[in-house]
C-alpha cells in the first residue's frame, strides 16, 4: 500500500501530476458534478416525491415501453448478432469485408437520420411497410416500431463483442470435441456456445443499455402516443418543456440508476469472463 506512492515518485516519466490533474478536473466538471446534480435534485424530492412521479400511469407506461422494447430488441440482436459474427469469422464469401464494415453503420449514422429513414421504410407506403400493411402488421407509430429502432441501434454491440471471442476461440477445442465423437451440432451447443455465451450476454446488456436511453432513432418511428408509444426519454423532454424540472429529474434519476445497475452487471460479467479465461489454455 504505502509503497505505491514511493514508486510513483521515483518514476522517470514526467507529466503525471499535470495529466492526472487535468483528467480529474475535466472529468469532474463535465461529467461527475453535473451528474451528481441530478441525484442532488432527486434527493431533494425525497423517495415519496420520486415515487409519486414515477408511479404515475404515463411514466410507468413509458418505462415499460422503453425497457420492454429495448429488451426485445436486445434479444433479437442476441440471436442475430452471434449469427452474423459467426458468418463473418468462419465463412468466406464475396464482399465479406464490406458487409463486416457495414455492421458499424448504426454507430456511425446520426440517430435522427436513422430515425427518419426507419420511419420512411416502415410507414404504410414505405419499402417494407407496404408489404406488412396487407398482413395487418403496423410497425411505424406503434411499439413495434420502437422495437425495430432498438434492434437497429443495438446490433453492432452484440456483433462486435462476440466477434473477437469467436476469432480467438481455439480451433483445437472443436477438434477435440470431434475426436471424442461429438457431432457438429453437439460441438456447437456444448463447446462453442458456452465459450461465447459471456460475450453474447455482455453484448446483449450493452445493446439493452443503449436502447433504453435511445432517443433520436426512436421518436420518429414511435408515434409518441401517450400511454402507448411514448418512450421515457421523450417524457423527460416533455416534462422539461413544461418546466417540471422535478418530474424530469425523478424520471431521469430512475433511468440513471437502472442504467448504472446494468453497467455494473456488465462489468461483473466481464471480470468473471476474464478470470475464467485467465490461465486456462
Amino acid at each position: 500500500m504505502s509503497a505505491t506512492p514511493v514508486r510513483r515518485a521515483r518514476s522517470v516519466i514526467p507529466g503525471f501530476g499535470i495529466t492526472l490533474g487535468f483528467t480529474l478536473t475535466y472529468l469532474s466538471l463535465i461529467v461527475l458534478i453535473p451528474l451528481a446534480g441530478i441525484f442532488l435534485k432527486a434527493a431533494g424530492l425525497g423517495f415519496s416525491g420520486i415515487w409519486e412521479v414515477v408511479s404515475s400511469p404515463r411514466v410507468l407506461a413509458s418505462l415499460k415501453l422503453s425497457f420492454g422494447a429495448a429488451l426485445v430488441g436486445a434479444a433479437i440482436n442476441g440471436v442475430f448478432g452471434p449469427l452474423l459474427a459467426w458468418v463473418f469469422v468462419r465463412y468466406r464469401f464475396f464482399g465479406k469485408r464490406f458487409f463486416d464494415a457495414a455492421v458499424d453503420l448504426p454507430f456511425a449514422l446520426p440517430t435522427a437520420v436513422a430515425g427518419i429513414a426507419l420511419t420512411a421504410l416502415y410507414s404504410p407506403n414505405g419499402w417494407i411497410g407496404q408489404f406488412l400493411t396487407p398482413l395487418g402488421i403496423k410497425v411505424a407509430y406503434t411499439p413495434l416500431g420502437v422495437v425495430v429502432a432498438c434492434t437497429f441501434i443495438g446490433l453492432p454491440f452484440v456483433v462486435r463483442t462476440v466477434q473477437p471471442v469467436l476469432e480467438e476461440a481455439e480451433k483445437e477445442l472443436e477438434e477435440a470435441a470431434a475426436s471424442l465423437g461429438a457431432t457438429r451440432w453437439q460441438t456447437i451447443t456444448r463447446v462453442i456456445l458456452p465459450t461465447v455465451l459471456p460475450a453474447i450476454l455482455t453484448g446483449f446488456a450493452l445493446a439493452f443499455a443503449r436502447a433504453v436511453g435511445e432517443y433520436g432513432s426512436v421518436i420518429f418511428i414511435a408515434g409518441n402516443l401517450p400511454m402507448i408509444s411514448e418512450i421515457t426519454p421523450l417524457l423527460i423532454i416533455i416534462k422539461l418543456e413544461e418546466f417540471d424540472y422535478a418530474g424530469a429529474t425523478a424520471v431521469a434519476g430512475t433511468m440513471l440508476v437502472l442504467s448504472f445497475a446494468l453497467l455494473l452487471l456488465i462489468n461483473l460479467l466481464q471480470a468473471w469472463v476474464r478470470r475464467r479465461n485467465a490461465s486456462a489454455r
Binding site: E170, E172, L173, E175, A176, A177, A178, S179, L180, G181, A182, T183, Q186, R190, V191, P194, T195, R276, N277, A278, S279, A280, R281
Partner: protein, 376 residues
C-alpha cells in the same frame, strides 16, 4: 489396433506437407514422430486422426481404410499440445464428454459414465480433482486430464501432439516416465509427435524421423542413433562433425591422411563426407586410421570438456568432447597437435548433407565401422 499408412500426400496451397508417406505400426507400439519444424510430423498425426484429409493415400486401421472417414467415426484419442480442455466444464465433465455425446442407444447410463470418468482420474493420478476447472490446474495436471479424456472413449489409437511441448523441463521429465509406464499398463497403440530427440529416444519403441514431408528413417532408438540412414538423421540426432574424405573401394582416407579406414562396404570411388560426433573422436597414436588436428581452444562446461580443433589438411573446424576426468583431457592444450581416431562414424557421398539434397538411398551409404573403433 495395427495401423498402416500408405502413400499419403497432403499439401496446403502450394506447400507439400507430406509427399508419399508409408508407415506400418504394430498393435500396442509406442511410436515417436520426430523431426524439425516443418517436417510434416504434425500433419501426419492429424491425417491419421482425421483432422486433415489427404489428397492421396490410405490410412488403414487393421484392414479398414479410414482416409475419407470423419474423425468422429475413427475413435482415436487425440491429445493436443495445449490440451484443448473445455474451460467451462469441470475435470469430470471434460473426461465424461466423449461418453455423453454418444447416440442415445450407445450411451452408457450417467452413473456408469461418472464411474468410468472417476476410474480414469485414478489412472492419471488425479483423484479428488473432479470438481476443479481447467484454469485451476497446473500444466502437468491439465495434460493428464486431456489424456484421461482421450482414453475415455476407449480409443483404437492414441495420438499425442507434442504432449510435453508446453511444460517446463522438470515436469516434462516426470510426465515422460509416467506416460511410458501408463503405456505399458494400458497397451494402447500410441503415436506421439515431438521435435525433441531426447524425448523420442527415451520414450518410444520405434522412432520415425521425418524431413521435408518424407520419412527419412524408421527404426528402434538404437538403430536410428547408431545406424543413421542419412546425413540428415545423423545431424538431427546430435552434434556432428563433418570431415572430408576420399573413398577407394573399401578404403576411406580421412582428411588426406594416408592410413585409411577399411570398411565392410565398397564405396564408389570419390569424395565422401565422414560424419562423426564430438564424443566419438579420441586421441590416439599414429599408425591406426585417423587424422591430425591442431587444438585451438578448450573450455569446460560442467562435467564436459569441449575442445575446438582444426583438421590439419583440410582446415576443417571440428569439435571434441571429453569427460573432464578422462585421462586425455589434460593433453588438450591450445596449440597442441593431436592425432584423432574415430570411434563411430558414418560415411556418405560428398554433398548429401547439404540443404536441398534429396533424402539418400540407404543401400549405398551405411559405412559404420564400430569394431575398429572399439579396438583403438
Amino acid at each position: 489396433m495395427d495401423i498402416h499408412v500408405r502413400g499419403i500426400h497432403k499439401s496446403f496451397g502450394g506447400f507439400k506437407a507430406l509427399s508419399g508417406v508409408d508407415l506400418d505400426i504394430a498393435s500396442g507400439e509406442l511410436i515417436a514422430l520426430l523431426g524439425p519444424s516443418g517436417s510434416g510430423k504434425t500433419t501426419l498425426l492429424r491425417v491419421i486422426a482425421g483432422l486433415e484429409f489427404p489428397e492421396q493415400g490410405q490410412i488403414l486401421f487393421g484392414d479398414e481404410d479410414m482416409a475419407a472417414r470423419p474423425i468422429r467415426e475413427r475413435r482415436v484419442g487425440f491429445v493436443f499440445q495445449h490440451y484443448a480442455l473445455f474451460k467451462h466444464m469441470t475435470v469430470l465433465d471434460n473426461i465424461a464428454f466423449g461418453l455423453r455425446v454418444r447416440e442415445r442407444g450407445e450411451r452408457p447410463p450417467e452413473a456408469t459414465i461418472r464411474a468410468r470418468a472417476r476410474e480414469l482420474l485414478d489412472l492419471v493420478q488425479l483423484s479428488g480433482l473432479e470438481k476443479r476447472y481447467p484454469a485451476q490446474l497446473s500444466g502437468g495436471q491439465r495434460q493428464r486430464v486431456a489424456l484421461a479424456r482421450a482414453l475415455a472413449i476407449d480409443p483404437r489409437l492414441l495420438l499425442l501432439d507434442e504432449p510435453f511441448g508446453a511444460l517446463d523441463a522438470k515436469v516434462r521429465k516426470d510426465l515422460r516416465r509416467w506416460l511410458r509406464s501408463l503405456h505399458e499398463q494400458t497397451g494402447y497403440t500410441t503415436i506421439f509427435v515431438t521435435h525433441d530427440q531426447e524425448e523420442a529416444l527415451e520414450l518410444a519403441d520405434r522412432v520415425v524421423i521425418m524431413n521435408r514431408g518424407q520419412i527419412e528413417q524408421v527404426g528402434s532408438t538404437d538403430e536410428v542413433y547408431e545406424k543413421p540412414a542419412s546425413p540428415f538423421v545423423f545431424d538431427f540426432l546430435g552434434n556432428t562433425n563433418v570431415l572430408p574424405g576420399e573413398a577407394r573401394g573399401r578404403e576411406v582416407f580421412i582428411d588426406g591422411h594416408d592410413t585409411p579406414i577399411v570398411t565392410d562396404t565398397i564405396h564408389p570411388n570419390g569424395a565422401v563426407d565422414i560424419y562423426v560426433r564430438p564424443g566419438d573422436l579420441r586421441l590416439a597414436d599414429g599408425g591406426i586410421p585417423g587424422f591430425y588436428a591442431d587444438v585451438r581452444s578448450t573450455q569446460r562446461t560442467g562435467p564436459i570438456v569441449r575442445c575446438e580443433a582444426q583438421a590439419v589438411h583440410s582446415g576443417q573446424l571440428i569439435e571434441l568432447e571429453f569427460p573432464h576426468l578422462h585421462h586425455d583431457a589434460p593433453r588438450l592444450q591450445p596449440g597442441q597437435r593431436v592425432y584423432l581416431r574415430l570411434n563411430n562414424f558414418s560415411i556418405f557421398p560428398r554433398g548429401q548433407g547439404k540443404p536441398g539434397a534429396k533424402p539418400s538411398d540407404p543401400t549405398v551409404l551405411i559405412g559404420s565401422e564400430r569394431e575398429r573403433g572399439r579396438l583403438g
